[in-house]
């Protein structure tokens, strides 16, 4: 009796599964990601460099806008820091060269130094 019920349920389940249609769209790059995962799982252990590249790819794949924004901010920050540091060096060098010129033409300043 119980076995017969199970068979009926299996038949019902099979029928329901056959009639099931997926209407919601798949996320972007779903198939590619699935194949990538399969490839990664099947391939021999990746080198650390490959792992880094794969991790970077993942970041750029799923958070492209944020990653690009962060890169732009990092570049701008680096340029700003470099310019700031350079401006102090340039100012110091200009002052030194100016003093050197003055000392070359003014013996009173030369003796004071």
């Amino acid at each position: 009796m119980t076995q017969q019920n199970h068979q009926n349920e299996d038949v019902n389940l099979s029928r329901t599964l056959k009639s099931w249609e997926v209407n919601s769209p798949l996320p972007q790059g779903f198939e590619r990601n699935v194949w990538n995962r399969i490839r990664r799982a099947e391939s021999p252990a990746a080198s650390p460099f490959e792992e880094w590249i794969a991790a970077l790819r993942t970041v750029f794949q799923f958070h492209r806008a944020l990653a690009c924004s962060l890169l732009v901010v990092a570049a701008a920050g680096g340029v700003g820091l470099g310019k700031f540091h350079a401006s102090t060096v340039v100012e110091k060098t200009n002052t030194e060269l100016g003093e050197r010129y003055l000392a070359s033409i003014d013996p009173y300043l030369r003796n004071a130094h």
């Binding site: 060098t93 060269l97 050197r100 300043l109």
Partner: protein
């Protein structure tokens, strides 16, 4: 978090490369100035936007002025030695010491006149606006600076 490490590494790399590139680009012109034979004159050319003709004239004025300046300095130094010797010998301000002091003062006056003459000649070689700027800077740095220093550096003025 582990997956973010490569990205953080890239960010750090970008910051370092951008920093180094902008630093070297900004510092390169002054480094180039320092590597020439007379960096102070090269600096003057850049600072006062002098063309090659003006710069050549100023270099000539500079090289003519320096031996003259050295000569006057040597004369002042010799005169100071004479004053010291005369003072040691006499132990008081004798007419001879006074004459020597007057000679030293005249030499110092000559030195300052030569210096001012050089400043003016250099400023006249520059375009008018730059010449004015040069004179203003040189006066503040030499003559003006000396006047400003007087009240603080003179012990008698402090009392």
């Amino acid at each position: 978090m582990k997956k973010l490490l490569p990205f953080i590494g890239v960010i750090v790399l970008v910051v370092l490369v951008a920093y180094a590139a902008s630093y070297y680009c900004c510092v390169a012109p002054v480094r180039a100035l320092q590597s020439v034979q007379e960096p102070e004159l090269a600096w003057l050319q850049k600072q006062f936007s002098l063309n090659d003709t003006e710069f050549q004239k100023i270099c000539r004025l500079h090289s003519e002025y320096l031996p003259q300046c050295r000569d006057t300095c040597a004369k002042i130094s010799a005169k100071n030695s004479e004053i010291r010797e005369a003072l040691l010998k006499a132990g008081k301000v004798t007419p001879e010491v006074e004459t020597l002091m007057a000679d030293a003062a005249a030499l110092r006056l000559q030195c300052q006149k030569n210096m001012l003459g050089h400043f003016l000649a250099v400023s006249h070689t520059m375009p008018p606006e730059q010449g004015r700027r040069y004179l203003e800077w040189i006066e503040n740095s030499t003559l003006g600076g000396m006047q400003d220093m007087m009240p603080d550096s003179c012990p008698a003025c402090k009392k």
